[in-house]
């Protein structure tokens, strides 16, 4: 594969992984979305312009094409986020069972504004659409882990216990 020799932001560990990943598909670029996930997980919780540039080089795509894909998907952060990310579902089943109160409490406990990051950079709180946890509403996702059947007390307890 014509992998460029100078990838500035992608560690070898990731490109090694991608080398395996692309074998799962008849076309190399199909692995792009999974690769974006891995970059976000490993490289500080967001996709920087440098990472996009490198992914473009790796997948033989224009960086603008990588940006077009990354920006289409709500899970990808194109700006830095807090150390911990709380994604509160505000869709119907959660709304009916108190998602608004969960959002209010999450913002209060963390000091982050809804859709933004706390001043100390520790927390981002945002709302998301249905997460498929409707029968255990309301819920939020904290750093990739679901917390379900929430009450405001539980919200305070869970978020209060995070370092």
């Amino acid at each position: 594969m014509a992998v460029p020799n100078k990838l500035m932001a992608l560690p070898k560990k990731l490109t090694d992984e991608f080398d395996e990943l692309v074998k799962n598909y008849p076309e190399r670029r199909a692995a792009l979305i999974v690769a974006l996930h891995r970059c976000q997980e490993e490289l500080g919780g967001w996709i920087s312009p440098e990472v996009m540039e490198d992914l473009g080089a790796y997948f033989e795509l224009e960086p603008v094409e990588v940006f077009g894909v990354a920006s289409f998907y709500p899970m990808f952060n194109l700006r830095p986020v807090g150390k911990h990310v709380v994604s509160v579902c505000h869709n119907i089943s959660c709304d009916l069972r108190g998602a608004q109160d969960v959002i209010a409490k999450a913002c209060e406990v963390t000091g982050a504004p809804l859709g933004g990051t706390s001043k100390d950079g520790k927390w981002t709180v945002r709302h998301v659409e249905c997460q498929g946890a409707c029968a255990n509403a309301p819920m939020f996702d904290l750093d990739g882990v679901y917390h379900e059947d929430l009450t405001v007390e539980k919200v305070a307890q869970i978020l209060g216990g995070v370092r």
Binding site: N24, Y25, P26, E27, R29, A30, A31, L32, I33, V34, L36, H37, F59, G68, V69, F72, Y73, P74, M75, F76, H90, N91, I92, S93, D95, L96, R97, Q100, I103, A104, L114, G115, R126, H127, V128, E129, C130, Q131, G132, A133, C134, A135, N136, A137, D141, G144, V145, Y146
Partner: protein, 439 residues
Amino acid sequence: MKPYETYLLDRANVAGAHQLATFQKLGGYKGLEQVLKSGMTPAQVVDEMKKSGLRGRGGAGFSTGMKWSFMPDITKDPRVRYLAINADESEPGTCKDRVLMEKDPHGVIEGSLIAAFAIRASAVYIYVRGEYRLSHDRLLAAVKEARAAKFVGKNILDSDFSCEVFLHKGAGAYICGEETGLMESLEGKRGHPRQKPPFPAQSGLWNSPTTVNNVETVFNAPFIVQRGAAWHAGIGTQNSKGNFLCGISGHVNRPGVYELPFGTTAREILDEKAGGMWKGRQLKAWFPGGSSCALLTGADVDVVLDHDSLRARGSSLGTAAMVMMDDQTSIARVMEVIARFYEHESCGQCSQCREGTQWLSQIFRRIAHGKGQDDDVATIEALAKGMAPGKTICALSDAAAIPTLSAIKLFKEELIECIRQKRDPLGIPAPKYASVGAH
């Protein structure tokens, strides 16, 4: 409710069933084994599915056997073919596929392999929504175990059937649950739905013949091949066969995912499974199958849950995700949430959908926040009618229009009062977080 036989969730209720050893103790992979060792041909498997009456569980309820039979004849069209399993599960209210993937991932793989055999696919891609980490990780571990035990890969169980199973992750876009959006996303692109024709069976993933099936749909296949089409066709109602997974959420005492035979009434599920409405309140309105179907009222609670009965009431079975709302629920508020969702999820390719969902969202928002204008209800109705049916590349536009029109049909007075009084007529305060599309 009469006693009935369960099978879909039996293994899921056993601890450790996500691991191969337990799964096999509970009869797992016996369906696949039967197909491969009994000398069944792909055409015979397709035929069994047709006779069984199995219909897709992804929302549209299309006959599964029929869908499989649309794949081109291998003798005339030797292209590689693919099966894509739709595990994007993002329809508001829907949380059933997750139960299967987390608790019975081998069952999903076994079903996928039988489907792949039937359509002669050499690879299965399971498209799991990005947020479902546990589902993804359980499936990944299961594929690994299955490959080591020769259930996945080359010459499965020493037959001449070879098939790979790959996982793919979504990243939070509802539109990737639409089958052609899903294929774009699997190819590493934005999830923009494709114009049809060509249909996926002619030209799908990487221009090859492709079948897209929901998780729960293929999960049924091993049971059907083992117990026979006649057994399956003997359960349910005239045009809706077998058991199905029903999610029930909202204002009920015991929300959950329950396995039921078609023919059960909504009241039976509400009262006997979900423990009735919470706080002793009354049922005001409900979605029978996710937010993309028409609302029904409390008076409809005796309806039988199946495709025909719900259609006769002007709604549809959708994903069988019942969302129940009590008599203290503001319809303006509900519609604000729903309209905002479709606004956020429209991919923007079609003007009717892009503009329509934005307008609906804005107008419902202002009604719910006491700022509605006199002609808003008429405007909403005209807008929704301009968005559907079948005017756009995909059905998301319809999915936004349908609940909207039902809200106007059933709750017009309430919406008008909400505008006139500049507040919810029940006195329910406007939400604090004026939901401007997420992100």
